[in-house]
């Protein structure tokens, strides 16, 4: 059971018009681990993440080919039920995007999509997920206020709670702490470590120290290619490739 792959990516190529953004990506993302996709800005990390829940569909200029296998199904195949697929994954983006509704409804919206019905049940679960997002104490008296009134750090925790409310198996996080203050960032990191026993987490980051703190598995990318991947400790202590060494040494960013 150790290191069982949750997501297998095979020969993934992504083109944007003439430019190739991802070049022949082959990675396996282990179950119930934190996999960190590390690399300098513009190396295709975010695109790789968006391929996994097919948000790439929203960008007309992107052409995706290859295979992404989750539970024996190639999710890139036409005719896949992408709406159900996306519910298997919670997304945390670079900056929080709360929905234009109240704090309560931000969570309730996700719950309703999952099929939770009945006001009492909804309320119970909203509270549960707000607690999971460590937001409950701050918002319990302002559930009917618009989510836009929360601070950025609170909004990001709301988005995390909302992402968990769809009851996913995988959490995709795209530099989730880059817009946050140190305390909110630390909270998110700690939460990820706590969540990995139940979820498979894929974290995109360019913050080396963050990666070192929480990565179980590391994928190092540079200019659309996977340069090196392996266990976190292994990659950080004994990088095999020259580029990884340079990056870890802080020579380029």
């Amino acid at each position: 059971m150790e290191n069982q792959a949750k997501i297998k990516i095979q020969n993934l190529n992504v083109y944007a018009e003439k430019q190739q953004i991802l070049k022949n990506i082959n990675i396996e993302i282990p179950k119930n681990k934190i996999t960190v996709i590390l690399g300098p800005s513009g190396c295709g990390k975010t695109t790789l993440l968006k391929c996994m829940n097919r948000l790439t569909d929203l960008y007309p200029e992107l052409k995706v080919s290859g295979k992404i296998i989750i539970e024996n199904k190639n999710i890139l195949e036409a005719g896949e039920d992408i709406y159900t697929l996306r519910q298997q994954m919670g997304l945390l983006s670079q900056r929080p995007y709360p929905l234009p509704m109240t704090i309560y409804n931000n969570i309730a919206y996700a719950l309703k999509l999952r099929g939770v019905r009945g006001n009492r049940e909804l309320h119970k679960q909203v509270v549960k997920y707000l607690k999971q997002g460590n937001l409950w104490d701050e918002v319990k008296n302002r559930m009917r206020e618009p989510a836009s009134r929360l601070s950025i750090g609170q909004q990001q925790r709301l988005c995390l709670a909302r992402g968990l409310a769809v009851n996913p198996e995988i959490i995709l996080a795209d530099e989730p702490t880059s817009a946050l203050d140190p305390i909110s960032s630390q909270y998110i990191e700690e939460k990820f470590v706590e969540l990995k026993k139940d979820y498979t987490i894929v974290l995109v980051t360019h913050i080396l120290r963050q990666a070192k703190r929480i990565a179980d598995h590391v994928v190092f990318m540079y200019l659309g290619e996977v340069i090196e991947q392996g266990e976190g400790k292994e990659v950080f202590e004994n990088p095999k490739m020259e580029k990884t060494k340079l990056y870890l040494g802080g020579t380029f960013n």
């Binding site: 829940n53 948000l55 929203l58 519910q87 995007y97 999952r114 989510a147 836009s148």
Partner: protein, 285 residues
Amino acid sequence: MKLRQKVEESIFKVLMILATYFILAVLGIIIYSIFEKGIKSLSWEMISQIPKGGYYYGKGGGILNAILGSLSLAFGSTVLAFIIGLPVALYINVFLIRKKKLVMLIRFLLDLVWGIPSIVYGAFGFSLMIMIGLQTSLLAGIITVTLFILPIMIRSMDEILRTVPIGLSEASYSLGSNKSETAFKIFTRQSISGIITAILLSFGRAIGDAASVLFTAGYTDNLPNSFLEPVATLPLSIFFQLASPVPEVQDRAYASALVLTLIILIVSLFSRGIGKRYHKTKINF
């Protein structure tokens, strides 16, 4: 260099100030003259009665026929245009996101029909009526005015829906919403104040236009009582009163213009109020 910048700055500043106050002054003069000429003829009789025989030659009565006619016509066509227009605007912005060229073509065509003068819509509506055997009536007027304001409605909503950030779409889809949920629950909420502005803009055009209703809604001294009978409208009422040789009746035309202006003002304030209430939930990015 520094002096040049200073001179440039002050020239442009003066030009901008002049232009702004010029426009404000023109606007002020228009409103003042409507008030000045209209207020003395404006009476309870004028807004509560229909024209009596010989009204256009100075006899008693009022323009209730035109007030109610215009309101029902503008309200009807705005509702209809909204019901058709919102799905179109959402379709363009949510469903056709991968078809950039098609979207460009649709926007271009809508901008094109936006520019067509309303008299052409009137003529088109008229020939449409003949085709389906409809007489001058409230219904024919509503259909014609709906066609006339649809491009305005769609394009103004479209412009506001375009500003919904892609990150918000991603957030919605990542929770498992499908496209229509994203469209109706997320896009509309995020854009609610802009949508209300679009409705208001369309209503203003609908209630203020004379040419499109000339052949289609017709004119009558009676109150509107059926979709299939002609209705009076304020712009045409103003036209008929101004055309009268009697000075008092011409003054009543200004009073009617004042009524029209006040209706637009009230509707505008009212919808701003609604817009503000919902604006709170909008996320600012």
